[in-house]
Symmetry: C2
Subunit: 187 residues, 2 copies
């Protein structure tokens, strides 16, 4: 099963402020620009390519706090696995497509694969870092907002070794966001 | 005087390993690719646009340790100011274009401006961070090597506030390095 990251960071690599807030993501860049058919910066095409999601508990709680209506829910019917050692049930404000999981990540990926899933969207800093160190992430799309925060929760963390990135490509948007794409090698 | 950053980092934002080494910079990316007239990834054009350099002591010591011959020296006759509170003289292995400076950075920039300098290349992590917090950096070119180091000396540090970046542009190279360009606003 292919595992991909699709995440936004500040130019200095943070996915949220230390208190978890992502206000800067909404205010960064040239607001007056109409991105037209690029307004989602590739998110819908990415979502259409995945058939399941794996996210950390904190990531889920950020989404739960948004109190999204069914119409606002960005993940459609995609099966979502939330990693948590403490929660046994998903918050009632979230759709029933959520499964809580506690346990080994390699086993989870193998199980999803056996269930027929082909492509997982892996989200949340802690989760992404764990997946990278298990050599489970295959591709990363990083969208950098044009702002330096100076502090916050970093996308990347300690690695057990140097991680080689390949097949890079980049795209600039008219609102001054930029997007980097990498395949991840572990040789 | 315009102050610019032109620096390489890992994809996770480090300019060197914790011991200062930049071995990863030489080995990252697709080595077999001939970049032809892009082999310097814009460095020579950037150097031609500056008329002075300001770097930290550690940055100078990394360069001094390379024991470059006159022919290998990449900075030509460019006047170089090295920031140090401890060193009064530059290492004898380095050209006499080096001036040691200890003191206020705003005063230094004003003095260089009064001496007729128009565009400074500001180098070294600590120095860049200090210049950003003094709102002295105008432009940044960041070349990201396709590797995650997991730890090291970060390019960016704490900021006194969010720093707005503008006029972004990006370029991908066939060796999988990517380059980001930003103008820095302080509003």
């Amino acid at each position: 099963m292919k595992c991909s990251v699709y995440i936004a960071t500040s130019a200095d690599g943070f996915i949220a402020r230390n208190d978890g807030s992502v206000d800067w993501l909404m205010t960064a860049g040239k607001q007056s620009v109409d991105l037209a058919d690029e307004a989602d910066m590739g998110f819908n095409a990415f979502m259409a390519s995945v058939d399941c999601m794996i996210m950390g508990r904190k990531c889920m709680e950020v989404i739960a706090a948004m109190n999204l209506t069914d119409e606002q829910w960005p993940y459609g019917d995609t099966h979502i696995v939330v990693l948590s050692n403490t929660l046994k049930e998903s918050p009632s404000s979230l759709p029933k497509t959520l499964e809580m999981y506690s346990g080994d990540l390699n086993s989870l990926v193998t199980r999803l694969e056996n269930e027929g899933f082909k492509h997982a969207y892996v989200d949340g800093g802690t989760t992404i870092q764990a997946f990278i160190n298990l050599e489970l992430i295959n591709e990363m799309t990083i969208t950098r907002a044009p702002v330096l925060l100076g502090a916050g929760i970093p996308l990347f963390g300690k690695t057990t070794k140097d991680i080689t990135l390949e097949q890079s490509s980049v795209k600039g948007f008219a609102n001054d966001f930029i997007q980097e794409f990498y395949q991840v090698a572990y040789n």
